[in-house]
Structures are given as structure tokens and as C-alpha cells.
């Protein structure tokens, strides 16, 4: 990387895009530090790090994985509502294999991921080759997917004991939870593929104008299909770590409404739902905002019945902060007040 790009990166950071989500996150951390001065403390114990920052990163892993896939799908002008259900399917597939058979961990993981890719393939085919609206196409799997997972589990919570599999959800590597490493890995690979090859450009082109990019020679259908395969993969991985975390597959509840959190994260990162320009780092920043908010609510000791209200208010505030029009109106009002 030469100095020119790093300079322009610093400039970009100050001028736009990153500054407002970052400001929101910092504000939230400051609020937490005021409530509890030791909020950001990390200590090392029993060979692993403990503390709220580690918890936030660890707990945000499923949504972070979903958000990586969701960012790309939204960039192509689509949306994937089925990711929560796909998490349930992948978890159920792995749990049943672990309980019923004696296959290797590798086979279990391959089967789990394959189930997610299959779901992605179905979504992608419905959207790009059948021309069905993404919100409807993926809604199908959102509803039936959870049913399929419940069917696999026979309506029960399937629990298993497998040290290797559990390690993926609650183990540590070099003192850091494995889930955080997994998110980093998926992030780096997807970022390299999308930013170091022309793939990212194709995705943005298809999202901006699907038919125009087709005339330019981009295979828009394949690009869209790839995007849904990616969300399927990410959702399966998220389902695997969620199941590994509790040593069981709870088809009724795992990943419930997480598709909405993933979409929210992408929006908090400043991406437009209409497609086009995207940024995975910004979406991950959105994920951190959501999870910090969740952790804040949990550790602050506020009554449970206020949870959703507080979350909604905070999200509206962050979105307003990001709105150019809102900021202009505020500074306009402030200017008027100063003049009068």
C-alpha cells in the first residue's frame, strides 16, 4: 500500500462514512464508562481474556457473519430474510449428525455448511433465474426453513456432547474466543475477494443497474446467485457457532429475528437498501453498535420491559446522526438561535 492511498483513507475517515457510525459507537462506550468505569476492562484468567469488550465481540459473532453476507446481497439490490432460518437448519443438521452417527467433525461441518449453501442456492435461483422479488423469494425459506429445522429435530431441542464441535462456539484460541477468529477469517477472505478482485465492482454494478451491467458483459445472474450463496454460507456458519455455544440445536429459537439485526447493521453502516455501494467494515461497525447496545441494556440493570424501547430509541438516534439532512437542519436551527 502506498502513502497516497493511506492518506486518502485517513481523509475518508474524517470526511464521511466512517465518522458517524464510529461516533455513535464511541458515544455508547462513553455512556457505559460513565455508568461503570470498569466497563472496558479486560483481564487474563485461566488462559483466556475476560471482559465486556471480549463479550461484545464474541456475542456479536453470529450477527457479524450474517451481516457480511447481507451486505453483499443488499449491494446487489436484493435482501435475504431467510438467514435466521438457515442458521436453524445448519444447527439442526450438525446436531443430528453428532447425536446419531459416528462421523468425523469435518464431515459434520461440511454437512452443516452444505445445507446452508443449498439454501443459498435455492434463494439465488429463485431470485436470479426465476425473477422472483428477493423479499418474497427469501420469505419462503424464512418460514419453511424453520419448519424444516423443527422437522429434523422432531420438534425437540437436540443436545449433544462433542468437545471439538463445542470449541467452535465457546472455545478459545490464543486467549481469544474462536468465534472472533472465525468472523475475522470470513471478513478477511470476503474483503480480499471483493476488493482485490473485480468481484466487488461487479456487485456494485449489478446493484446500481442490473440490465445496464448485463449490456456491459457482466453476468448479473451469476453475481446475484453468488451473493445468495455467500449469505447461505455465512448463515450456516453462524448457525454452527450458535449450536456449538449451547451444545444443542434449538430450532424454535436460534437465529430468531437475527435477519432483522443483520439488515439493521448494514443500514447502520450507511448502506442503501436499494443496492449499489457497500462496505463490509462499515456493516461490522453497525454490528458492534447493535451488540454494544444489547450489552449495555443487559449490564445496566434496567427493567426488561424497557429493553425494546431503549433499543429502538438508540437506533433512531444513530440513524438520525447519519442523516445529512437532519444534521443540516440541526446546525440550521442552532445558527438561527445564535442570530436571534
Amino acid at each position: 500500500m502506498n502513502t497516497e492511498t493511506s492518506h486518502s483513507f485517513a481523509e475518508r475517515l474524517l470526511k464521511s462514512r466512517y465518522i458517524w457510525p464510529l461516533a455513535a459507537l464511541l458515544l455508547m462506550l462513553i455512556f457505559n464508562l460513565l455508568l461503570d468505569a470498569s466497563f472496558l476492562d479486560i483481564h487474563f484468567d485461566n488462559g483466556r481474556f475476560y471482559g465486556n469488550p471480549i463479550d461484545i465481540l464474541h456475542r456479536s459473532a453470529p450477527v457479524a457473519l450474517l451481516a457480511i453476507g447481507m451486505t453483499v446481497v443488499i449491494a446487489t439490490g436484493g435482501i435475504d430474510l431467510s438467514v435466521g432460518a438457515v442458521m436453524a437448519i445448519a444447527g439442526a443438521v450438525c446436531a443430528n449428525l453428532l447425536v446419531a452417527t459416528d462421523v468425523s467433525l469435518f464431515t459434520v461441518l461440511v454437512a452443516g455448511i452444505a445445507s446452508g449453501l443449498l439454501c443459498g442456492l435455492i434463494n439465488g435461483a429463485l431470485v436470479s433465474y426465476m425473477g422472483i422479488q428477493p423479499i418474497i423469494a427469501t420469505l419462503l425459506l424464512m418460514v419453511t426453513g424453520r419448519g424444516i429445522a423443527q422437522l429434523l429435530n422432531d420438534g425437540q431441542i437436540v443436545t449433544f456432547q462433542h468437545a471439538g464441535f463445542s470449541w467452535l462456539g465457546s472455545g478459545t484460541l490464543l486467549g481469544i474466543p474462536v468465534t472472533i477468529w472465525l468472523v475475522l477469517l470470513v471478513f478477511i477472505i470476503s474483503q480480499l475477494m471483493l476488493r482485490r478482485t473485480a468481484l466487488g465492482l461487479f456487485v456494485e454494478a449489478v446493484g446500481c443497474n442490473s440490465s445496464a451491467s448485463r449490456y456491459l458483459g457482466i453476468n448479473d445472474r451469476t453475481v446475484k446467485l453468488m451473493a445468495y450463496l455467500l449469505t447461505g454460507f455465512c448463515a450456516a456458519l453462524a448457525g454452527i457457532i450458535s449450536a456449538a455455544d449451547i451444545n444443542g440445536s434449538d430450532a424454535n429459537n436460534v437465529g430468531l429475528w437475527l435477519e432483522l439485526d443483520a439488515i439493521l447493521a448494514v443500514v447502520l453502516g450507511g448502506a442503501a437498501l436499494s443496492g449499489g455501494r457497500f462496505s463490509i467494515p462499515l456493516s461490522l461497525l453497525g454490528v458492534l453498535i447493535i451488540q454494544t447496545l444489547n450489552t449495555t441494556i443487559m449490564v445496566s440493570g434496567m427493567p426488561s420491559k424497557l429493553n425494546l424501547l431503549i433499543k429502538a430509541l438508540a437506533v433512531v438516534l444513530v440513524l438520525l446522526l447519519q442523516s445529512d439532512i437532519f444534521r443540516k437542519q440541526i446546525s440550521g436551527l442552532a445558527g438561527k438561535w445564535r442570530h436571534s
Binding site: 484468567d45 455455544d245 443487559m298
Partner: protein, 310 residues
Amino acid sequence: MNIKTLAMMSLLLLSQNAMAEIVVGFAQVGSESGWRTNFSNDMREEAKRRGITLKFADSQQQQANQIRAVRTFIAMRVDAIVIAPVVETGWTPILRQAQRSDIPVIILDRNIRADEDLYLTRIASDFVEEGVKAAQWLVENEQDECRVVELQGTVGSTAAIDRGTGFNRVIDKHDNITIVRSQTAEFTRNRGKEVMESFLRAEDPNSICALWAHNDEMALGAIQAIKESGLAPGEDIKVISVDGIPDYFLAMANGLANVTVELDPHLGAPTYDVIQRYLKGDTDIPKLIRTTGDVYTQATAAEEYQKRSQ
């Protein structure tokens, strides 16, 4: 003639063969949880024990199926109809139909929103009593200062509100026990673990004496969080819960949890008691009958697990 009417006719013929004994139609929700399966089995076994013929309909979580089943029961002229409703509303028309045919209806478990005159009685678990029993165990086993963290059920659900109320009612009379943290974990294992982790960060883990969870699933998640933080669940932090699912009995048998109040699945006996009383002409039946399950501790956990996991 379609299959449905054919099936109904054959059922009619069958039921006429057994005119002498009592015939009860039961529209069950489905088999979505282990608890529900136990509940269905109890209804079947208790009927067999009493020589009652039970017509069982699994409604697969759909009210439409339940209503269809009840309509069939009415056509069969059963002696009584038992409904474990999927949802609260929409029961009035079918209950009227049963009333016109002079068939008593008993509602089990979940509540319905309908005129009380339309059904004989409702038999359901007493959630408040479950909370009371859970708290009493703690009171009896903890004389010293005890800081409790609470995992609440889904906000606004009857089970969460009533279990919390019952528990608080008891500990309010005992100054040594206080709830220091309370947050919802939505009755699920994943959330139970996550919220417990946050409790262990926000409080000094060594100062927490007990965990009170509104159901076993959340408790099982929390047990893992306690284990991962390096403490011993069941010893360093006592684990108190409600429901009595097999996984929790296993945890108790392994010393990871202390006590659970069973969400009573044995609704068969009180149901058939009411039906037999009513058919003998007893009309003095209360509109709501409450049941509570027993308290189970580590002492019997291993053998209870054997019994329940078959």
C-alpha cells in the same frame, strides 16, 4: 362421500360399540416439546387406568385442526370434550355448538377468551405457586446473606409474570435474600447463556449466591456460562428453576443444578375427576382448577432422569 365423512362414520360406529363406558375427545396442541409429549401420554395412561375411551387428536399447532377435531367429537356424541387450546381467541362458535349438543368442554393448560358459561372448567398450572415453591427451597437452604440473579421469561408472558411474582412474594419476607440483577432471556438456552455472562461481568461473580431462572432452558444456558467463567454451578452459584425437562434432571444428577419445580404434566387425573363428577350429576365445579408440580432436587435427579429419558 369424501374420506373425512367416511372416517367420521367409522369412528361413530366404533364409539357406538362402547356405549357403556365414558368416551372423551381430546384436541391436543401437537407435540412441539418434551413437556407436551409427557402431557399427552399422561392423558392416555390415566384414561386407560380408569377404563375411559380417549379419542386423541393431534392438531399440529393449528387451531383450524382443533376446531375440526372438536366438530368431529360432537358428531360422535362423546361424553366430554377436552381442549388444550393453541391460541386464546376464536373458540366461541365451536363451544356454542358443543353446548347445544349438551357436551361438557374442559379447557386445559393455556387460557381461552370466551364466555365462562360456554365451558365446564379450566385446569391449568399455578405459575405463582411454582415461583413460591422455588423461593421456599432457597429460603430453607440459605440462611446467610444471599444475592440472587434472575433470568426472566419472555416479557409479558403469564408464566414469567406469575413465577416472578410468586418468588418475590416469598423472598420479600426474608431480608437475607435479595435479587441484585434481573433481565429477560426469553425462555431460551442461547439467551440464557448470554444474559448470565453479562451478569457475571456486571457483578462480582463470587458474590452471586444463586441463580433463579423462570425455566429450565435458560438455566441450562446459564449453567454453561457459569462453568466457562471458572465457577461451579450448583455449588458456587446455586441454580433454581421451573419446568422439569429431562436435560435439567441430567444437570441436577451431575451436580450442576440444585432444584426445579415441575411444570405439572399430570393433568389427566384432575381432568377425568371433573368429567366423572359432572357425569354423575355434580354441578358444583369451580371455573378454574389449579395444579402444581412437585419440587425435585439432586437427591432423586438421577433416577428421575432415567424415568424421563426413555
